[in-house]
């Protein structure tokens, strides 16, 4: 239906609309913002993982020359009496109150006109604590005597969190359960049973532009300039904290220097808002790269997966138990536990499934969404497990997958019927690109070659709303107002192409107004690859609304239907001069049926599915454990392509990010202290670290997506890690079950396999 009208704007690799600004250094980032009279805030952070605050001595800091003021939770309480925020739980205080829950938690802020002075003074603050027992491991947190929060405080709006209200003596921030078929019977009757446990370590987003927010008081309230992926959420949450109507809080977001899920919900916004209200001056807080390590991570996870398999290789039952290490504050972890948790059995057609997924509090940096919303952790487990089963049964990994994958029309674990999920096409395209059916050259020396494949899928978060406005000016030029944040993914360009396609104009002629909650309408957030589908549909409908109103205008001024009279002349005919506007508006919210509480079953779990597959070829040095990935193939189902070049770059960028999480990145901790909190010690992939890569999309269409499109930002991450682990197993016959895959881990595994294990360090 959406494919009927084509004016060549959709499907064109237009250069990004903002490329010139970015290439000339003129693009606007909050990083660059400086307001008259602005103070810089520097955060004093907890040095212990868990403890009661005995005292905070700010006297030396306050007396330091050049310091304007030092702020603690006691000052914040005067402007925000109940200063707890969060998207799922109202558990996170603006500054620590009574207790600290992780190393690096904000305790106080020094304000000064010179950021160096603020930093010097922050080092003069002395806090004393009575330390409490701490818990760091997500599985231990289930039964630990160390309890992170005295009482649980879920936000009132979510029915699936209500039973946690007021609970004490627990670290479980959400337990999600799914029951389908008869798993006990499947295991009792199985020819083979396989059980494995897989783990991932905490890693982090590290956008090159660290978190940064500025707040200023205005005549009517507050304006917050922030590097945020969720301007509408920030407005609503700050208004809630202050007890104000939404319209007194204005949130403006220019370009972001990367986001990847880090810059969602409230990060620095509540803090700068409180500070600006306390001192009645603009306040900027710009974190350093190091401080990002104390702000948000990706969940570490443990996944126990158990499968019943028939002798011919059909999976008949699966048990999934997943523990998510949420750190000290829930952030969006409970949603990951459920919204991604229900895909834990993988893209396989399995009649009997149980899932138990737990979101845990621990005394570590809070964990949240990171490019994949929990999916890469799940795929790591179920696709490693898939190869282990195939190898044990002496089945080809591709053949085993072909036998079991979810196909169009099959019911997924929730009972939702699969539609527009090109799982089979992605699997086949990966194997074709890998020449899987052809013999693979192996080596006989100490460096062994191997290859592996993997495939993963994700459901889009739902139900969520996007609203768009298309404004056609009297000269016929078009402007799009929407709150989607372009953090690098190319949404400005894609949305302009959609407007242009509907209005039969050039995408380059469409102007995009960036998120400004006084101007641009509501959008849930830019996350989870939801924007191209949700906002894309709203933008398409708003443009169609504008087009219909232009047709009405033509009729009104007596222009015959089908006439190609320039739009500007329609306005002149009506207003007798260049005047007036046509405003097209639309909102889009897909249908959704919440899962049943006991069974997780629903006929409509998601508006659309994303699919990502990967293939890897590796060389493993058996004398050092060093792994060189010599080829990495990524294939995604992203529906139709609005802008093919941007799609390819999103796929390859996502794959490289996940490659870093697979081979080299991990937050190292010792007793709750992060020991590698810098770019110098925590190495993200440089250009010399990355393997030769091919990234492409399968020919597919999302029937209700804008012009058949759907999200692309995360699909490239899904399958990279297990494809590489499977290739390593293929090369040297050892299984790595924990990310990242370090040379040491591989070498230890080889030695253990040879019956000559290394002693523990």
């Amino acid at each position: 239906m959406n494919k009927i009208m084509r004016h060549g704007q959709v499907g064109r690799s237009a250069p990004r609309l903002e490329a010139r600004e970015k290439a000339t250094g003129r693009a606007e980032y909050v990083h660059n913002l400086r307001l008259p009279g602005m103070l810089y805030g520097k955060i004093f952070r907890s040095t212990i993982p868990h403890g009661r605050i005995r005292s905070i001595d700010v006297s030396a800091a306050a007396a330091h020359p050049g310091v304007y003021r030092v702020i603690t939770a006691a000052d914040v309480a005067k402007v925000v009496p109940n200063p707890y925020y969060g998207p799922a739980f109202h558990d996170q205080p603006i500054l620590a109150i009574d207790k600290v829950h992780h190393v690096g938690e904000p305790v106080a802020v020094v304000l000064a006109t010179d950021p160096h002075v603020a930093e010097e003074a922050a080092a003069l603050i002395v806090a004393q604590y009575d330390e409490l027992p701490a818990v760091y491991d997500e599985v231990e947190a289930m039964t630990s005597k160390a309890v992170v929060h005295d009482v649980l405080k879920p936000a009132g709006t979510f029915p699936d969190l209500k039973h946690l209200q007021g609970k004490t003596d627990t670290n479980v921030a959400l337990d999600f359960h799914l029951r389908r078929g008869d798993v006990a019977k499947a295991f009792a009757e199985a020819d083979h049973v396989f059980e494995h446990t897989f783990r991932t370590k905490a890693v982090l987003h590290l956008p090159l532009e660290p978190f940064v927010s500025v707040a200023e008081t205005t005549g009517s309230g507050l304006t917050i300039h922030t590097a945020s992926q969720s301007p509408s959420f920030v407005r609503i949450e700050i208004a809630r904290l202050l007890g104000w109507p939404e319209n007194r809080v204005r949130v403006k977001v220019p370009y972001l220097g990367g986001g990847f899920g880090a810059k969602l919900y409230i990060k620095l916004e509540a803090l700068v808002a409180a500070l600006a209200l306390i001192v009645n001056r603009p306040v900027k807080i710009a974190l350093t790269m190091e401080e990002q390590f104390f702000t948000l991570t990706k969940h570490a996870s443990t996944f126990r997966i158990k499968s019943a398999v028939s002798k011919d290789g059909k999976i008949t039952g699966r048990e999934c138990e997943v523990w998510w290490n949420g750190g000290a504050y829930a952030d969006i972890g409970p949603r990951i536990t459920q919204k991604s948790g229900f895909t834990a059995p993988g893209p396989y057609d399995i009649d009997n499934v149980t899932i138990d997924s737990y979101s845990l509090y621990t005394n570590l940096t809070p964990a949240g969404a990171l490019r994949g919303f929990g999916i890469p952790q799940l795929v790591w487990a179920y696709e490693s497990h898939a190869d282990m089963i195939a190898r044990a049964l002496k089945l080809d990994p591709l053949a085993f997958r072909r036998k079991n994958i979810l196909r169009e029309g099959n019911a997924q674990a929730t009972g939702t019927i699969m539609r527009d999920a090109a799982i089979e096409a992605v699997l086949e395209q990966v194997s074709a690109r890998m020449d899987w059916e052809k013999p693979f050259a192996r080596s006989s020396g100490s460096v062994k070659r191997g290859r592996g494949i993997a495939i993963g899928f994700k459901a889009s978060i739902s139900p969520t709303t996007s609203v768009a406005i298309v404004n056609v000016a009297a000269d016929g030029s078009a402007t799009l107002y929407c709150s989607t944040v372009d953090m690098g993914q190319g949404s400005d360009t894609a949305n302009a192409q959609i407007v242009a396609e509907v209005l039969s104009i050039e995408a380059e002629a469409v102007r995009i107004v960036h998120p400004d909650t006084d101007v641009t309408p509501y959008d849930m957030a830019t996350l989870g690859s939801r924007s191209l589908y949700h906002m894309g549909n709203a933008v398409r409908l708003a443009a169609q609304d504008a087009k219909a109103k232009l047709a009405d205008l033509a009729r009104e001024v007596g222009v015959p239907e089908g006439s190609n009279i320039p739009i500007a002349e329609l306005f002149v005919k009506k207003y007798k001069m260049q005047a007036g506007n046509i405003i097209g508006t639309a909102s889009y919210i897909p249908s959704y049926v919440p899962p049943e509480a006991e069974t997780g079953q629903t006929p409509n779990a998601t508006p659309f599915w994303m699919v990502g597959g990967a293939g890897a070829e590796v060389e493993v040095d058996t004398e050092t454990g060093h792994v060189r990935v010599t080829r990495l193939v990524n294939v995604g189902d992203v529906g139709t392509l609005i802008n093919p070049r941007i799609v390819a770059t999103q796929l390859s960028g996502a794959a490289v990010m996940q490659y870093g999480f697979t081979m080299q990145e991990q937050i190292e901790t010792d007793g709750g202290q992060i020991t590698n909190a810098s770019f110098a010690d925590y190495k993200i992939p440089s250009i010399l670290d990355i393997p030769p890569m091919e990234s492409e999309a399968v020919d597919a269409e999302q029937h209700d997506g804008p012009f058949g499109a759907k999200g692309v930002g995360e699909s490239g991450t899904f399958a990279v890690s297990p494809a590489i682990a499977n290739a390593i197993d293929d090369a040297v016959g050892v299984r790595i079950s924990e990310l990242p895959i370090t040379p040491e881990a591989v070498y230890r595994a080889i030695r253990a396999r040879n019956g000559d294990p290394l002693e523990d360090a």
């Binding site: 903002e18 970015k22 090159l208 190091e290 941007i646 810098s678």
Partner: protein
């Protein structure tokens, strides 16, 4: 405070700065040339890369006062004053060599420096070796390599100076 005078993008500039002021802070905060970005603060990422007397320098590694009399070029100084982009900027635009854009100014300045040292015909291997000091978290690098190769070629036939404003 320390007085400092240098040439930035062809213009003589002076400043009275705290001695601990880094070149990147001088450029961004005193001159308000905000195209030079701060990423890591610890000399890994290369988002703050500028040219000093014809050499690529991470501007978070030097104090402003150390550059008395120096000739500095930032990302704002390489396009033609008429608004026509430098060929390397054009190449990053045409080859989708950027996403969030935060590392882009440093990448472009690094790429121009590479052409100055290595010439206009840059193979894939050379480009990758030379860009090791510039980190990108978004793009996966592949389009950056294509952009640098194309930009290097375009600089050959262009009147754009390899080192602007010098």
């Amino acid at each position: 405070m320390a007085a400092v005078a240098m040439t930035v993008n062809g213009k003589a500039v002076t400043g009275d700065v705290d001695p601990r002021t880094l070149l990147v802070q001088f450029v961004r905060e005193h001159l308000r040339l905000t195209g030079t970005h701060v990423g890591c603060d610890t000399s890994q990422c290369g988002a703050c890369l500028v040219h000093v007397d014809g050499k690529a320098i991470k501007s978070c590694t030097v104090f402003a006062w150390q550059l008395e009399g120096a000739n500095v070029t930032t990302i704002e100084g390489i396009a033609d004053p008429s608004g026509k982009l430098h060929p390397m900027q054009e190449a990053f635009r045409d080859n989708h060599g950027l996403q969030c854009g935060y590392c882009t100014p440093g990448m472009i300045m690094s790429a121009i420096d590479m052409v100055n040292r290595k010439g206009n015909d840059l193979d894939d291997h050379t480009i990758r070796q030379e860009l090791d000091g510039n980190i990108c978290r978004c793009t996966g690098y592949h389009n950056i390599v294509k952009a640098v190769a194309a930009g290097a070629k375009a600089m050959k036939g262009s009147s754009a100076p390899a080192q602007a404003a010098e």
